[in-house]
Symmetry: C2
Subunit: 288 residues, 2 copies
């Protein structure tokens, strides 16, 4: 019932290998912002999304407003997974009690969101995040979901779809990610999904680093709309402290993401295989 | 009517030159935390205070909890002076509307607080800041006021005094700072004030740096309870971005503070003049 995007309507061929290298988590920290901007400007990252509730949102929003040439989505946020670096809703937390811990910050784990969050509070908060992004001068190209939390249940997916319709923005859906968050068979008529999603891996990161994994992913990309999800940041003092006791998607991983996707050899690899960049701005034309 | 602290009750002599080197703004950023910690551990900084509403509060609170040997106050916060780095109340902002801008963040200027803030909302919010600090395991030694905002009016001063009484903590009062915020003659019976406050200066900072100014301050310290207020931070990527378009008390200034007060020559200067360190923990014994 769910369909892949019809990329022929954009002028692509069925056999074309299309790739979006998407930077999640812009706005999280100064390090994340700086690395994301450099990866957009000098690397092959061609899309990113911003976390509105984070301390560094305004810094990234300033960039987004003045650089509308880059695909920029809203990374709808319902979790704060860091131990000593906390953020909470855009709305007063007393208005969305099911979304927060006893200090008014987002729950750390997406399972808590699945268990506790009331869909109407989720919707209200995510509308507020979008409204704040719009007010900051961002012209969003898409919506996606931090830690894929909106894929966790059919109720959350329903909110996700409603927000897409309401703000006329494509939402990032992937059957593969839905399986990974234990919510398979939840797609429905009218959903558009990307063909494949690629992402780093903690074991590989710890043992050999991510270069080999990403190289293999690029060498094996198949025809269709591929997305590589990365989280570029510099492994500096700030980012190490944000990620303290949280090596999964931690600052080392993020530095590897930055390094690999700004390496000229990576760009060459894309050229060799005639991999074409694709953006949400293009997708917007055929999905709405 | 207001009195200087009676330091003879602590065993000091009338002619003793007592000095507290106090680091404000801990919790503001990762850079501020790291520099404050290093300045406490290796420099002559002997007291600091934490901004509870800031993104890096939890990181600093973790340090404070595990290092109770250092004087640690609560830097009561009602303003957010930074352009693209925003924070707001600990309470849901809808409960303290007079304290926030239209996005729910603190006003940027203390004059806005003076004009708009309702004393009962100020009190409620500052109680929440103290309660959060206590819950985080901090054992505060004193209260002080970010940008000396609580000195702006008699109503705000009344809240400040009430909080001190309520939580049995000395509050940092200075007739000199009250004059600087255009609220002279506002002290009253029962107030205890420090003898002198020393602070950097933007013009000096821009032209020759702060070393000479601080050196002169130390050479001219008089007998009594002296406080030098500093804001140590590293002038790194994060701090430059926090302070963007705000060179006054900006990242350069903060690096100079760190450098001077961790320089062994500064410690030698104190020794030469027999300047003795004093802390709020001591003051607590005679003020409550």
């Amino acid at each position: 019932m769910a369909k892949h995007y019809d990329l022929e309507r954009l002028g692509y061929q069925k056999e074309d290998i299309l790739l979006m290298v998407h930077a999640d988590d812009a706005g999280l920290s100064c390090s994340e912002n700086a690395a994301t901007i450099e990866a957009l400007e000098t690397g092959i990252v061609n899309s990113y999304s911003i976390m509105v509730p984070c301390p560094w949102f305004w810094d990234m929003a300033h960039f987004a407003k003045h650089h509308p040439q880059y695909d920029c989505g809203i990374h709808l946020t319902l979790t704060c997974e860091w131990k000593q670096y906390k953020f909470g809703p855009v709305l007063p937390y007393s208005e969305v009690p099911s979304l927060v811990d006893n200090q008014g910050f987002f729950h750390a784990k997406r399972e808590q969101v699945k268990k506790l969050a009331k869909p109407q509070e989720v919707k209200k908060e995510l509308q507020a995040q979008i409204v704040r992004a719009l007010a900051a001068g961002i012209k969003p190209t898409h919506l996606d979901s931090h830690m894929y939390t909106l894929g966790l249940s059919n109720e959350l997916l329903a909110v996700y779809r409603e927000l897409g319709r309401e703000y006329q923005l494509p939402i990032f859906l992937s059957d593969q990610l839905l399986r990974e968050v234990d919510n398979p068979d939840s797609l429905q008529e009218g959903d558009n999904v990307v063909n494949a999603v690629h992402i780093g891996n903690f074991k590989a990161m710890e043992s050999t680093g991510l270069d080999e994994l990403y190289t293999q992913q690029l060498k094996n990309l198949k025809a269709g709309f591929n997305v590589i999800l990365i989280h570029p940041a510099f492994d500096n003092m700030e980012m190490k402290q944000v990620c303290v006791d949280h090596p999964n998607f931690g600052s080392q991983w993020r530095q590897m993401d930055f390094d690999f996707f700004t390496d000229p050899n990576t760009a060459s690899l894309l050229k060799e295989r005639n991999i074409k960049p694709i953006t949400w701005r293009e997708i917007q034309k055929i999905s709405l």
